[in-house]
Symmetry: C2
Subunit: 194 residues, 2 copies
Amino acid sequence: MQKNPLIHAILKEIKLTQEEILVFDRFWTEKIIEKGAYLLRNGDVCRSDNYVISGLLKAFYINAENGNEEILYFAIDDWWATDIDSFSKQKPSLYNIQAVEQTSVLQISYHSFHQLLREIPALERYFRIILEGYLGTLQKRLVDNQVYDAESRYYRFLETYPTIASKVPQYLIASYLGVSAEFISRIRKKNKLS
Amino acid sequence: MQKNPLIHAILKEIKLTQEEILVFDRFWTEKIIEKGAYLLRNGDVCRSDNYVISGLLKAFYINAENGNEEILYFAIDDWWATDIDSFSKQKPSLYNIQAVEQTSVLQISYHSFHQLLREIPALERYFRIILEGYLGTLQKRLVDNQVYDAESRYYRFLETYPTIASKVPQYLIASYLGVSAEFISRIRKKNKLS
């Protein structure tokens, strides 16, 4: 087992030499975010790229019309939790990232991230592949939101993200899907999932 | 001026040797899509990555509840028009891409794309940067949709995408913003933009 769990994820996509792995390791710092603490606040610049080792984060913003918390995404083990627009352009973030439970992340600063890519250009490929995956997921979410009704979206969510579904409180899943917690209780009851 | 306009876009982000530029050129084929013709149909696999030289494409899907055409994005000169999830996994697409006016694109097949990245690894960096931009734009759109009211979204769209706004018929902008064409006419009249 490598010291850095991110290395495992990376070696699934690209090859690195032992020397590159050692260099890579030096760039990352582990940080613990206590339950309820913020990794990023709306309006602040996202200073680090964040890889989740373990725990659960929610990315959200406040709906200006009704004051509701709207969930943009969840991040669990082996997910990234970075406002990529804020991080890549070093401009204020549009949303918040907060720990739902105690969470451990690996962090790299903006400056170090670019230094790392200069030292190990092979990583460009890894990040290209990861970004393709996230972009695909987000496009799918936009389409799903309008093509499927709320009940189908709920079951598609359970099917696509079983690990997240088992960790995340039901009221947060409801917020992610844009429905009320009561609505989910109702369809679970109807389909005897409760 | 290079033969391949995509090279200009790439050389803004990364350096390539003259030899690499020649290799790069060989991988791309120009294709004309007539007004109303489809570049991609929902359910088909997206076989090529598509860079728009000139013209206007709309990416859309049909809302199952009301039969409405929902616009996912527009693509004009110097934009990519690819269902990245379908292309990168070679699985059926969730949406359609159709020419609003005659459009010229540069295409590369899935197989050739990976061959190209093997021959010119420096391109990984270019695509990583491009994907960061698209992912940031899409996250911003998801947030904007719920944080801003329809009128603000319309003016933010005009400000962010002046070229698209000047080319795209008003009823398609309305569909992109999730409002009625009448709504846009009304606010333009109110603010004397018409």
